[in-house]
């Protein structure tokens, strides 16, 4: 099933048509997200999800010719979101891992 991820609390999202701008309440940084990152962050804002959940969601959202790369795509998006601190990986106890 892979690791479990969650959005950090208090993320603010501005939806501007094809792109969204999100506010990280911990760093006060703003980030522009593409539609895939927006979808993943939206899912993780609602509840924690496993990497497999994210892969499935992306698989459904991607065009047919892109579906083969859904797994790699999910990993890349999760890494990007984690690198800017918008999501965290959860440990077995459900708390953010260090």
């Amino acid at each position: 099933m892979g690791a479990t991820f969650s959005a950090i609390p208090g993320v603010r999202i501005l939806d501007f048509d094809s792109e969204v701008v999100v506010f990280n309440p911990r760093s006060w940084d703003a980030h522009i997200l593409n539609s895939a990152a927006e979808m993943v962050l939206g899912l993780l804002t609602r509840s924690p999800r496993t990497q497999h959940d994210i892969e499935v969601a992306l698989f459904d959202a991607l065009a047919e010719e892109e579906r083969a790369s859904a797994s790699a795509h999910a990993e890349r998006v999760l890494n990007d979101l984690r690198s800017v601190g918008l999501i965290v990986e959860l440990g077995q106890d459900g708390l953010a891992s260090r």
Partner: protein
């Protein structure tokens, strides 16, 4: 009483005593100085502004003083004091007005954190604001001033003052600073405009200031709803080119171009997000001022017909 209603000598006396206190709209500013030639310059450029009582609380206090010491005879210098401290080295005496104006801008950018401050010109027509963000050399001041000479009301040539509660733009009125070629451009474009003296030796080249008229000053507390954001770039090789800017990108460019976005954090994010959501955003490359003004006028009218104005927040 307006500044123009007292004499140069009267302005000089005020500057040397408790100062000249001016309500600029979003901020109240006090200027003190013992530099005698400054009085006539301020009287010309701030003539339409009301003089506020000496005991009014100010948002920025700027003092320009003749430097003491032996160098004053051979190479006269002046000192800029902001809110009681002197944060910079002394300056040559020959640019007192640009120094005061720059000092006021510096103080406001450092202090006015009850608002989101964008580095931009702002004009208004029919209650709709046009935000004109600046990059150096963009022609922001030229375009802002030119619009103010063609039916738009000037809110500021330097600060986009965004009210945090509703993202409306507030006036922060000061004499508009024109630099280098833009001085002659505006002189030709609006021959009746009142410009102050030219100062050729500033850090930004030659600078001159535009005096504001009484009707603009009298509207200094009337806000405007954001409607259009135009990122201008003066380009002598292009007569007129216009592109739409995606709102998320416009948000990023405005945030980077803000004086205090990082100070305000979530409040700035919300206020700027609201401003961008309410605005159509464009990038404009131009050398033909009239065409640029026609296009911006059209954008504002289009925004006017697309939505109705909300009641201003009390």
């Amino acid at each position: 009483m307006r500044v123009a209603e007292i004499t140069d000598a009267g302005v000089r006396e005020r500057l040397a005593a408790k100062g000249l206190t001016i309500d600029c709209g979003a901020a109240v500013v006090r200027i003190q100085s013992d530099v005698p030639e400054l009085a006539a310059m301020l009287r010309l450029l701030y003539g339409a502004f009301q003089i506020e009582p000496d005991d009014v609380v100010t948002d920025a206090s700027v003092m320009l003083r003749l430097a003491r010491g032996s160098r004053r005879v051979f190479r006269p210098q002046i000192e800029l004091w902001l809110d009681g401290s002197r944060p910079f080295e002394r300056y040559p005496r020959d640019t007192p007005l640009p120094l005061v104006e720059w000092g006021v801008n510096f103080a406001l950018a450092k202090r006015l954190h009850c608002y989101l401050l964008l580095h931009s010109g702002v004009v208004e027509m029919g209650g709709r604001a046009v935000v004109i963000p600046a990059m150096p050399g963009s022609g922001k001041s030229t375009l802002t001033v030119a619009l103010s000479q063609r039916g738009f009301r000037l809110l500021s040539d330097e600060f986009g003052v965004v009210r945090l509660s509703d993202s409306r733009l507030l006036p922060l009125l000061r004499p508009a600073a024109l630099k280098n070629e833009s001085i002659d451009v505006i002189s030709r474009f609006a021959p009746d405009a009142i410009l102050g003296p030219r100062f050729p030796k500033t850090r930004k080249g030659t600078v001159a200031h535009l005096a504001l008229d009484a009707s603009t000053v009298d509207e200094r507390h009337t806000p405007a709803q954001p409607a259009v954001v135009v990122f201008p770039r003066y380009d002598p090789t292009v007569e007129f080119e216009l592109d739409s800017v995606p709102k998320a990108r416009a948000f990023g460019r405005l945030a980077v171009n803000s004086f205090n976005y990082e100070v305000l954090g979530p409040d700035a994010f919300d206020a700027l997000g609201r401003l961008v959501a309410l605005s159509d955003c464009y990038e404009l490359r131009y050398s033909d001022l009239d065409r640029a003004i026609d296009a911006i006028t059209l954008f504002v009218r289009r925004a006017d017909s697309a939505t109705t104005l909300e009641e201003p927040a009390s």
